[in-house]
């Protein structure tokens, strides 16, 4: 198994605030890796740093053998790093169709096969193809955001809390689709609050706490871990 992404001891600051204090983790080619953590732990910051929206003040990020920290997002996307930012962020006044086309901005023209594939993954988008994205429901917008990222033909897909604010049934649908995308060979770095679903899906997971990795293991291990259960699944610690 080859390492696709390796984050090495990065420190990220917002002015004086240190959001990440030396975070290291690895993502292997073809894996789903989950980043868990409480609010404000630094999950979003980690993803933004990987996708190039922020630059680390210390440490380095290596992707596919190249050092990528400090490279802006519009260049990273050409390497196949596609980011679905937190809170969906579709283009509300553009139609679903236009949103998907924007996802393929890095290409001269959108790939029709990929477009068709996205609409197969998300049939609801096909029904609403000419509707402004702002009129979609929350779940549909999340699907659109993921579909838009897929239009960029990702090799590494960064998903930031895809389950945020969605009903359990939809969360399950979306996670199923993520699994499908992964099985097609796309590596996924998933940020989640919804630990049980995320860990059920993930090959491995990392737990962040105030800017540091405190726990790591396979999905199953973490799911069985008392601390995780206590903190994220709201269970009483037995002992």
């Amino acid at each position: 198994m080859t390492v696709l992404l390796s984050v090495e001891d990065i420190e990220v600051r917002y002015g004086a605030i240190k959001a990440l204090k030396g975070v290291s983790f690895e993502v292997n080619e073809g894996e789903v890796v989950a980043l868990l953590g409480a609010n404000g732990a630094g999950k979003t910051t980690t993803q933004k740093t990987v996708s190039g929206m922020m630059r680390p003040s210390l440490g380095q990020i290596v992707y596919d053998g190249y050092r990528i920290d400090g490279i802006p997002p519009h260049e990273l996307i050409t390497l196949g790093i596609c980011h679905v930012p937190e809170g969906r962020r579709v283009f509300p006044r553009m139609t679903v169709n236009e949103n998907l086309e924007m996802g393929a901005f890095r290409f001269k023209r959108p790939d029709a096969a990929v477009f068709e594939h996205v609409l197969e993954l998300f049939p609801r988008l096909r029904e609403r193809i000419k509707q402004p994205a702002g009129t979609l429901s929350g779940g549909e917008q999340q699907m659109l955001a993921i579909g838009r990222a897929l239009m960029g033909k990702p090799r590494l897909l960064l998903l930031d809390e895809p389950s945020m604010g969605l009903a359990p049934l939809i969360v399950k649908q979306i996670f199923d689709i993520v699994r499908g995308i992964n099985s097609e060979g796309v590596t996924v770095l998933l940020v989640e609050q919804n630990a049980s679903q995320a860990l059920a899906l993930a090959d491995r997971g990392y737990v962040l706490e105030t800017g540091e990795i405190v726990l790591t293991g396979t999905g199953a291990e973490l799911l069985a871990d008392d601390r995780v259960r206590a903190a994220y699944l709201g269970e009483e610690i037995a002992s």
Partner: protein, 747 residues
């Protein structure tokens, strides 16, 4: 939680009544003199309020109150087919009979003045007397009431009657005006009668729409679109027919000092003077024949939807325009050589006739062109449009303005015809307004629209680039204290690429450090930049000659290209056409840009910058590009300005102008090219128009009122861009489509 406050309907309507009456008092104040003196501070107010005229305004207030109170009852009628055209037609006629000029040379030449003059003139035709005395008002009232009744009650016969009466009214108005002009031997440039005729034509449309409407076309716009789209191209041909008839039968073709000659008179006048045979034949029969043939072919092409005929009509129209131009050139040139009644030479002393004929031929040709290029039947096109847009906007596309097949292009063609052939018939004053106010600001607004409308960056220092363009030109032509090296000394038109390049660099230089700022900060920084440029221009005496501006005149443009020699002088028309070329080039380029990758990237950044970044847009670079493109357009306008006025100074580049351009773009509809142009044109035209209508001191107030009304009733601007329209209407407005989803899907 406190219980919601219960409102008593009676106090509610009392409040409303009081507001309406107060509003009417405000309007009364606005209409009155805005004056006062130390002796009588209250002069303006007493004149406005304590005079019987205030009763009229209070009555208007009551009407307003009634309208608002019974609005829910009125609304269902408002969407009936024909209401829109009826109201706009009525208002147009009313405006023609109150505000417009009806005969240049009679006092202030407004309708009222002309009417008084007519009533004091004995031997004038009784019909004319009646028209100016009472008939015009009675006709308008009767027609309006009849048409309104027809619409409200759905009586088709009445609608046809109203249409017929409107036609009669238009003819009477025309005859009456004509008899005044011929009786008084006026050199007439007034437009009142034409506006009145247009108003009646609009009312006729309303009536016809009403008469033809069926349940299928329950909404007004659908019906209007159906009528306009019935045969694409036909409306233009009909319009061309009307204009052409006026041109050939009665308009003035040649008007030196002391007489007005129609086309046949012109022929008489030039008989035996050695006028070129082509022009002679044109004046005798060729003009009429061309007109008849192109009209017939154009109408047939539109009616039969025949491509070949359409192209024939288009070619015929084009050839006829050229022949008409040759004819009027020939006889005006000859008149200058022979000093006919102190005529001054080529293109001078022409009446409106020749230009109207050109316009008519152009419209007919354009109608043929549209007929030749329109695809499919109306029903199909409407279905297609509805299919593609109904979900997107939540309203059937067929209800959108000018969505009928060919309607948009007909509108564009009409605009081109007006832009080409109206200015030569305008007075010198309006020609200079067209060039140095309307034209230049349209160009500036198109440029700023890229920055404000498309990229969403508020730039309050836009005029600085205009200044840089002007000063660069002045430098390159050697009008500044510092002289360019001799190899760089050039004529103004050659300066264009340099000025544009320098403005582009200036745009980059300002943008690069500041575009990382957001919203308000960017606005403040650009505002500062604008002022810095102006202050540098004032103070860098050795370079810019300070507040006096360039010390020698910036020469007018010249073109020497092989056999082509064009020298621009003091004739504003020449500048108008030069400006038109600039505007068209910029427009074509920007239209491509709007639909390009870059255009889409701007739209994405405007909507959500983070998401735009996430989809791989280099947001900084793309914003910088918008800034630079806007700046270089402004620079182009600067070159034009400098070489047109010759002398300018830093006062031409004050902050106020920057703000005005922003206002034009917002007023017209941010992000929409036609909107920006219409906004700039309307708001630069309005102050000049108001010069005649209201005291000078009141002008700004009226403009403010117009802008305010616009922002209340059409917050998206005159012609909003599609996306912006959705934004402002909100998604709820868009979502009239039910989006209920079965519970099992639960999304």
């Amino acid at each position: 939680m406190s219980a919601p406050k219960r409102t008593n309907p009676r106090t509610e309507s009392l409040k409303r009544l009081v507001s309406c009456l107060l509003a009417s008092l405000v309007v009364a104040l606005m209409w009155g003199p805005q004056e006062g003196s130390f002796g009588n501070f209250w002069f303006g107010i007493t004149q406005s309020i304590f005079k019987p005229r205030v009763l009229v305004f209070l009555a208007l207030g009551v009407v307003l109150f009634l309208v608002i109170s019974f609005w829910p009852k009125v609304v269902p009628y408002l969407t009936r087919p024909g209401v829109g055209p009826l109201v706009s037609g009525g208002v147009t006629v009313l405006a023609a009979q109150t505000l417009m000029h009806w005969g240049d040379g009679i006092g202030d030449s407004k309708f009222g003045t002309v009417a008084t003059a007519v009533s004091n003139t004995p031997g004038i035709a009784p019909l004319t007397k009646a028209f100016f005395g009472w008939l015009c008002w009675v006709m308008l009232a009767v027609i309006f009431v009849l048409a309104a009744l027809a619409i409200v009650r759905g009586i088709k016969v009445l609608a046809w009657v109203a249409a017929g009466l409107s036609l009669v009214a238009a003819v009477i108005a025309y005859v009456a005006h004509h008899s005044v002009v011929t009786y008084a031997h006026l050199l007439d440039h007034s437009l009142g009668v034409y506006v009145e005729i247009i108003g009646y034509l609009v009312i006729i449309t309303a009536a016809v729409v009403t008469a033809l409407s069926s349940a299928e076309m329950a909404e007004g716009r659908v019906a209007v679109n159906r009528v306009l789209g019935w045969r694409p191209g036909l409306p233009l041909v009909v319009l061309g027919l009307v204009v052409g008839l006026l041109a050939f039968a009665s308009a003035t073709w040649f008007s030196p000092q002391n007489f007005n000659a129609t086309m046949s008179d012109t022929h008489e006048r030039f008989r035996g003077t050695g006028l070129a045979p082509l022009a002679v034949q044109y004046l005798i029969w060729l003009g009429w024949t061309l007109f008849a043939v192109t009209t017939l072919v154009g109408a047939a092409a539109a009616y039969l939807r025949n491509r070949v005929l359409g192209w024939v009509a288009a070619a015929g129209g084009a050839i006829s325009v050229v022949l008409t131009l040759i004819t009027i050139y020939d006889f005006s040139k000859l008149a200058g050589q022979l000093h006919v009644d102190s005529a001054t030479g080529p293109w001078q002393n022409l009446g409106a006739g020749g230009w109207m004929a050109c316009g008519a031929f152009f419209l007919i040709g354009a109608g043929g062109f549209i007929a030749a290029t329109a695809h499919g039947s109306v029903r199909e096109a409407l279905a297609r449009a509805a299919d593609s847009d109904v979900v997107a906007s939540g309203r059937a596309a067929s209800t959108q303005f000018l969505s009928a097949p060919g309607a948009m292009r007909s509108g564009i063609m009409l605009a081109i015809a007006v832009a080409l052939f109206y200015p030569p018939t305008a007075t010198g004053f309006w020609q200079s307004v067209l060039v140095s106010e309307i034209g230049i600001y349209v160009l500036l607004a198109i440029g700023l629209n890229v920055v404000v409308g498309w990229a969403g960056l508020l730039d309050l220092g836009f005029i600085a680039f205009y200044a840089i363009g002007s000063y660069t030109t002045a430098y390159l032509v050697g009008s500044l204290p510092i002289k360019p090296p001799s190899w760089l000394h050039m004529s103004p038109l050659l300066a264009i690429p340099f000025a544009v390049a320098i403005c582009l660099l200036a745009g980059l230089a300002l943008g690069a450090p500041t575009l990382r700022l957001r919203g308000d900060y960017l606005a403040i920084v650009t505002l500062g930049f604008g002022e810095i440029i102006r202050i540098v221009a004032v103070n860098a005496d050795g370079v810019t000659n300070g507040s006096r501006g360039p010390d020698t005149q910036v020469p007018h443009p010249v073109i020497h290209l092989g056999p082509i020699h064009i020298t621009w002088g003091l004739n504003q028309l020449q500048y108008w056409y030069l400006l038109l070329v600039f505007v068209v080039i910029v427009l074509l380029a920007f239209r491509r840009l709007e639909n390009s990758r870059i255009g889409r990237a701007w739209a994405a950044i405007r909507e959500d910058e983070v998401a735009a970044q996430a989809t791989g847009i280099n947001t900084f670079q793309i914003k910088l590009l918008a800034f630079a493109i806007g700046a270089s357009t402004s620079g182009l306008a600067g070159v034009f300005f400098a070489s047109q006025v010759g002398f300018f100074n830093p006062d031409n580049f004050v902050l106020n102008n920057s703000i005005l351009v922003v206002a034009y773009v917002v007023f017209g509809g941010m992000g929409s090219l036609p909107g920006a142009m219409a906004g700039a044109a309307l708001l630069t035209w309005l102050p000049e128009f108001l010069k005649d209508q209201v005291p000078a001191a009141d002008r700004q107030m009226w403009i403010g009122a117009v802008v305010l009304a616009m922002m209340i009733f059409r917050p998206g601007g005159l012609l909003p861009a599609r996306r912006r329209a959705i934004e402002l209407r909100g998604f709820d407005g868009a979502g009239s489509q039910p989006r209920a989803v079965p519970a099992s899907e639960g999304m």
